[in-house]
Symmetry: C2
């Protein structure tokens, strides 16, 4: 394993990593930080270009860690090793596992996603503020065989290191189109004969009775106030009935229930 040592905190790579982590406007848009063993395993399996992988001194002693570094080495990824103190200066977590990568993930647009050969299932997260919730939704969408995840403008970035971490690396597995406008999604769904639903806490048909077996897209509202966009009120609504008195579900929970109901319906004989 041919990891190069880095010892200066002013090393240009480490400075870039800190810049990308900060989410500053002048940070290169295409780069994201992937941190943690499981997330890096997903990166390694993906086709994305890895700019560099940095690990702390003790990382690599466990077999699963060593295997990861070995596979990056085979891919000729640039590998660097730093002291634990220096690693802490670039880490995006409080108790780091000691490995992170700088990955080149070009933005995806409706024009650039592959033709929908199978039965599309799209989730669109509208206005979510919490990167943990968005990351969990990304992980769940990948697990439910969703074909695409979108976010509207005003939603936390899926490229936020915490979103990527909460996705357990599924960020690198499912196509994600960020910061779309609803009319853009409506147009896409219309062209591809994809039924578009909005979710509502009060009105609409129960999600178990909604037709989710055929191509569909679901708009999911934010944590506090649900869907508020005026441009969706004419869409058919689906809701998740819950026990009397309970105000609402966590947004990532609601998304999971809807996605796995679609998966269930699609697997019926």
């Amino acid at each position: 394993m041919t990891a190069q040592p880095l010892t200066s905190k002013d090393n240009p790579l480490l400075k870039s990593i800190r810049l990308v982590s900060s989410g500053a406007r002048r940070a290169p848009k295409q780069l994201v930080i992937a941190e943690g063993l499981r997330v890096l395993e997903e990166v390694q399996r993906s086709a994305f270009e890895v700019e560099a992988v940095v690990c702390s001194e003790p990382f690599g002693s466990l077999p699963r860690e060593a295997a990861l570094l070995h596979r990056f080495d085979e891919r000729h990824t640039r590998l660097y090793r730093v002291s634990e103190a220096l690693y802490q200066s670039i880490s995006t977590v409080e108790t780091p596992q000691g490995v992170l990568g700088l990955v080149n993930v070009p933005e995806t647009h409706f024009a650039s996603i592959p033709a929908e050969s199978q039965n599309p299932l799209i989730l669109c997260a509208c206005g979510l503020q919490d990167p943990g919730n968005l990351g969990t939704l990304i992980r769940t969408a990948a697990a439910a065989n969703a074909s695409l995840l979108c976010t509207t403008s005003g939603t936390v970035s899926a490229r936020n290191p915490k979103s990527i971490r909460s996705s357990a690396g599924a960020f690198f597995r499912i196509p994600i189109i960020e910061h779309i406008d609803i009319p853009e999604l409506r147009s896409y769904c219309s062209i591809h004969a994809i039924r578009l639903y909005r979710t509502d806490v009060q009105e609409g048909v129960s999600y178990t009775e909604a037709e989710l077996r055929s191509p569909c897209a679901i708009l999911l509202g934010n944590e506090g106030s649900g869907l508020t966009a005026q441009s969706t009120s004419d869409l058919p609504a689906i809701r998740i009935p819950i026990a009397g008195g309970v105000e609402s579900l966590n947004v990532a929970t609601a998304g999971a229930i809807l996605l796995f109901e679609a998966k269930r319906q699609r697997e019926l004989p």
Copy 2:
């Protein structure tokens, strides 16, 4: 509204609140901290005894906030008002809404839960480490009409202020028995003719084909390693099939999918 001003950071009530927040061994076991508008609304609706409610200077200006304080006042709850700086010294969150309560929640045991008159649905969280995940599960269990939530020893406390907050107050709505032993649950299920399942990521029947319509209890494993207890390997297993390559679901997500499948089956004609 008759809130009493408190100005000393050494006031005994504020010291008790900090002690309970800290989770120290010498903190009174029965007391929990409920923080935030929505959580306090649930406390107010519950039958639990409220030791005191403390709010910061600006809290109460919005109608929903004023209504909450008014209802506590009608209940003759002791209400106190403190400066924003003093509130910050007792808050359990970074950006507080400015209201918290100290609530007396006696421990629940199998012997003390009401006779199961309806169709029991029990979730048992085994070894969860993240209070946010446990709180989300509590919220989801209440929304799915579950009759009881249990946790095994080695699980983060449901009384942790962050669990209570993530439950959006559902902590005060559903019976919770903490830190049980699996044999104790097995015995309870056996006496009450409740079918007990373990969850597994690989083996077992798909959750949509499992019989969840009749009385049942589900053991849910922890975030990292699933269920490891030797004492469960003979139980029937259910699993949530997920898309090829995705390693697993978030534990709160998995619980939600199982609970809402049980709810779906129970509502079938």
